[in-house]
Symmetry: C2
Subunit: 267 residues, 2 copies
Amino acid sequence: MAEKSSSGGGDLPASLEAAWGLRDRPAKGPKPGLSLERIVAAAVDVASADGLAAVSMGRVAQEVGASTMSLYRYVSAKDELYVLMQEAAFGPPEPLSAPEPGAGWREALAEWASAQRDRLHAHLWLLRIPVGGPPATPNSLAWWEQGIQALEGSGLAEGDKTSVVLLVSNFVRSEAALMADLAAAVVARGVSPDEVAASYERTLKRLVDPARHPGISRLLESGAMSGPEDPDYEFTFGLERLLDGVEALIRKTDGGPRVPADGANSG
Amino acid sequence: MAEKSSSGGGDLPASLEAAWGLRDRPAKGPKPGLSLERIVAAAVDVASADGLAAVSMGRVAQEVGASTMSLYRYVSAKDELYVLMQEAAFGPPEPLSAPEPGAGWREALAEWASAQRDRLHAHLWLLRIPVGGPPATPNSLAWWEQGIQALEGSGLAEGDKTSVVLLVSNFVRSEAALMADLAAAVVARGVSPDEVAASYERTLKRLVDPARHPGISRLLESGAMSGPEDPDYEFTFGLERLLDGVEALIRKTDGGPRVPADGANSG
DNA sequence: CCCTTCTGCGTATGACATACGCGTTATTGC
DNA sequence: GCAATAACGCGTATGTCATACGCAGAAGGG
């Protein structure tokens, strides 16, 4: 596992080096016929068209008009390609609309969450990429930063801001992953989303034992699953709960004395 | 994709049929030399020892003392094995300790979340298994049911109970996945967790531009990342926020008139 | 002008999931 | 009892994939 240190100082993981564009473009050999950008763009196209599973080194190479192995002159391993794809498809955040300090944190955070969700929905395959540790790519940092900005003036401690950002970000990913799975089921079965939902309800009705599962039975009988579900419902619901929870924390923090604000062991 | 309908009525997906034990054990041919249970147990052992990636049909077969292809007499595809592994490793929920109706929903839900988290931590590879649609296996339903039970008497609508359960469950998974990635990084680099954290902080300090990332810079300067992090911190923090959010919803619901909870889900 | 360094890429390796079919074994209908 | 039948275990084959290795040609640097 030798690290190629280039222009920077220490030893960044190879994929990070690539993501930050710190790669030494050596001036010695033949001119590269390809570029990282072209390769990543091709990979993103393949993923968008046929899903992440269709992204093989061979397929990407073909798409870009080169041989499989030539890609390895630009990318050290497939994982690195994944990181770059993620970075490219997610992109940098738009500037937040309302930077009012102190008051609008709730709207700002909601907007931030929605924007993140939009990116994920535009590229559902993003959710299939295994997460490789904490954020360290340019766009990841930019989104992180923007999340912290949204909480500026909320009175939260620095660490809590990041914890909140992490919490919301994870929520958005979870919800999007759920929708992605549902969408995958729809594609796989080749029927309409309503059909899939109805089929699921039917399956549940068969499997659920009213004695063993009174709660789920009540849910099924309540008809809450039968109506045409708003695809945004769970997102909106969850986000509101989350924001309410954050609001409670903020109230606790700047209302009371300067205490670590956990509440976990408050009794 | 022909479904093998067996004892039930309709057409369950093959993996579900297996998970519910509805497979017709035909009385015709030679006695099976293996059993689903043995195979799944072996697969779980492999995953626990060497990670999910080490679970190949060949490896499992070897572990169980049979040939690769013989496994396909018990399992229709690897995905089905995954479902069964999940089911086996996650297991059924313990009975909740305090079934006081109406009051103790917060403690009950917290206990439920912690129990779920414990299972995931005991088998971190569970988080690497791609989720295959909404829950429909016996243990999934049992956990779901228990989550609903925890909210019994909270006054929430049936649909909202499930939404809350989903929200909390997703949170637990997200947080556990984060820890799993961290643990994987620790194993991969062969150093201590503190070392990994310190290394991450160093990397961040190199990449973060104080002008472009004032919030993250402030975080780094605040030293919030330097201390020995309690591995439960993010879990406890997030769970408290979530529960506060649910509490707000409950107050809104049973305090006011019987209205759909808030302005978010007007559709 | 040659030597170093980088290029694209053909070939090879080793996993892996899984389709197919064969010989074998136990049960069932007669 | 006895064949017909249906499951069994499993060897073999196929196709896909990531990627190690090494070669031949190109482009600057001395």
